[in-house]
């Protein structure tokens, strides 16, 4: 049951506690969002660790994580609430059998808390142990504009109106993290209510730190080669460059295959972990991969000479 960090330094430590290697800039945005109670809007390519931030926050702050995975056609029934129709039907039958004549009474019975199925958005407004939950609205760009517009009310006032019951308002503002892969632009009206942060690919040094935590089984030499190789791929003209998730997967895969050093053959066998489009694989496979590997090795050698 830890409290919200008081300054950027503490926020950085907090993320570190959850094994999340963060830039100070990201920590600043997270800190602002926690302190001022506004949603944090994270945009970036797939596999740079956007979703992870919400998970880490929920873990380190000891809050419940409520996740809303977005998809096209997401509607109120699956995002906010739904009535439990079969139970309601039974209730009506029972009332009928007992000969209840009072319509208002029956209406109140049918549309009461008992028959309400709470979906993520409504759950996030409810008080829970250890403080308000972390609400993760994942891949918002996958839903349509109609749902985005609905979110406006929820995210600015943290309240939801259910016609049969009334308005539900959050006693304590939940911590809201919204992520987007930018498969379409999110409307400015929504972004305006949030703190914005573009999550970029990390630099070599930071990526190495991440590998040390997320794939500790891979030895240091291999990790360095993997990171340098991936960094070079990112500078190339590929349809989809590998994210951090791919780097971690690759390092683990190489370790599983008992490879302690990158070789052209090893790359050839495992390239599918790193690149997910056939064009990209065809472009890199073979001589190109060998060339990059040579560059990587000579770079590491020079760096070691310089430091040693």
């Amino acid at each position: 049951m830890s409290n919200i960090p008081e300054n950027v330094e503490d926020t950085l430590k907090l993320l570190g506690l959850g094994n999340y290697v963060s830039d100070r800039s990201l920590a600043t945005a997270v800190h602002l969002s926690l302190q001022l109670g506004r949603p944090l809007f994270l945009e970036g390519e797939a596999g740079v660790g956007k979703t992870e931030i919400a998970k880490v926050l929920s873990e380190t702050l000891g809050r419940k994580l409520v996740r809303l995975q977005c998809y096209e056609g997401l509607d109120v029934a699956s995002a906010v609430y739904e009535w439990n129709y079969s139970s309601q039907m039974i209730e009506i039958r029972m009332a009928e059998a007992e000969g209840v004549k009072d319509r208002d009474q029956l209406g109140n019975d049918i549309f009461s808390d008992k028959f309400l199925i709470r979906r993520p958005l409504l759950q996030a407004l409810e008080p829970s142990d250890g403080g308000a939950p972390v609400l993760l609205i994942d891949e918002l760009d996958r839903t349509d504009e109609a749902f985005e517009a609905y979110l406006l009310e929820v995210l600015s006032d943290f309240q939801i109106t259910i016609p049969e019951i009334g308005t539900v308002k959050a006693a304590e503002t939940p911590i809201v993290i919204i992520t987007s892969n930018r498969t379409r632009e999110i409307h400015d009206a929504l972004k305006r209510r949030c703190f914005y942060y573009w999550v970029d690919y990390p630099d070599a040094e930071r990526e190495l730190e991440i590998l040390a935590i997320k794939a500790p089984q891979a030895n240091e030499e291999l990790s360095r080669q993997v990171v340098e190789f991936v960094q070079r791929l990112r500078a190339m003209d590929l349809f989809k460059v590998p994210g951090i998730a791919e780097t971690i997967d690759w390092a683990s895969a190489l370790h599983q295959l008992d490879i302690i050093e990158l070789t052209p053959d090893a790359i050839e066998d495992t390239l599918g972990v790193l690149l997910k489009y056939q064009d990209d694989i065809a472009k890199i496979r073979g001589s190109e991969a060998a060339k990059i590997l040579d560059e990587v090795k000579s770079e590491i050698a020079t760096a070691q000479l310089a430091s040693g």
Binding site: N3, I4, E6, N7, V8, R24, S25, T28, A29, H31, L32, S33, Q35, L36, F41, E43, Y71, E72, G73, L74, D75, A77, W83, Y85, Q88, M89, I92, A95, E96, V100, K101, R103, L106, G107, I110, G131, D141, R142, D144, E145, A146, N181, R182, T183, R184, E185, D188, K191, R192, C194, F195, Y196, Y197, W198, D237, F239, D279
Partner: protein, 436 residues
Amino acid sequence: MSEKAIPNEARPALDARARLDKLDNVEDVDAGKIATNIMHFARVLRSAGLPVGPGKVIEGIKAVETIGIDNREDFYWALHAVFVNRRDQREIFDQAFHIFWRNPKLLERMASLVLPSFVDPEAQQQAEEMNRRLAEALKQNPPDTPGEGEGNGEEEDPDITVDAVMTWSANEVLQETDFEKMSSEELEAAKRAIARMRLPIMEVPTRRFKRDSGGRRIDMRNTLRAAMRGGGASIPLQFRKRKRRHPPLVVLCDISGSMSRYSRMVLHFMHAITNDRDRVHTFLFGTRLTNVTRQLRNKDVDEALDKVGEAVDDWSGGTRIGHSLHDFNTNWSRRVLGQGAVVLFISDGLDRDAADGLEREIERLHMSCRRLIWLNPLLRYDRYEPKSLGARALLPHVDEFRSIHNLDNLEQLSEVLTKPALDKGFGHNPWQEAAE
């Protein structure tokens, strides 16, 4: 926790005050001025085209109170989190920040000259001279300068960066174009044509439902409500069915020299269709790719076309279809084709680069969209056969090929697009045979 919340909230603000009091000789910033300076900074950003309203200024001040100003980096990222809300605004923010917080007055003086919103033609000459010097001065600073040189794709990027804007004077001479104003009869005719037009695009079922007495699914929620109205004695079933909706439409239009006699027509068409329905994205390309969706959203067609004329630099020049498609595939395809878009590709298939790399790019485009329709206005003769290198590369990868023999008005254009598809199957295409 609630008892502690109040002192917690109040503290950073007090801290910031206390720190500010100590810092009166640091740069130009002191306690009384910080809020004013943030306001001025916001104004500079607004004039540079960032959507920064008064609400944001207040937020910016709150954010700085929370963060404090003893760490320049935190200060930077706090303002960044508030003022920036798209990736392409980062460059402008970054440069504005570095100049403003070193010397606010300098930037205010320069803002009108440097930043993209500048449109005063009288001062342009003066501006042109300033630009190069400023560009050099600024180039020493930006941490993340985009790659330089011709044709590496950075300049074509529709994201506005200060760098790109300021170097126009040194670049190749690019053409702007004027369009004849549209007469009101033409306008009426165009509207009618568009209203009649039915693109050969199937409507797709969505996952949303609407009430429909002829629907096949039971709408439980309304059924129960109806039951309550009757006191629960009977349960009259209510029905619903899936809503159907057009998939998004992406128009990629060639505006090179060989297409120039059609460009006005096609732009009118694009304007009409952009305003007629939602989820339309429009791009123009000649030697480079430009996203003109925002310009074409302007309701007035003449005004919209003027803006397009300003935004696009490569009217009636050469065509580099492969290059432009590559640009589209890397920078835009994930953003605009995400929801199963239909792509309407308008081009005559004549390519300056002799179809270099074109086949690979059109294949990639074809695989990323729901349906790829190629509209070719070159075919002025009935016996035309697509023999050019570009056309040969394109043909195997389109779902549908439409040609137009004499494009004089929008009616013809919409008529061609309304006709049912030649071949609905994915197997044999008559036009592919012609290309071999």
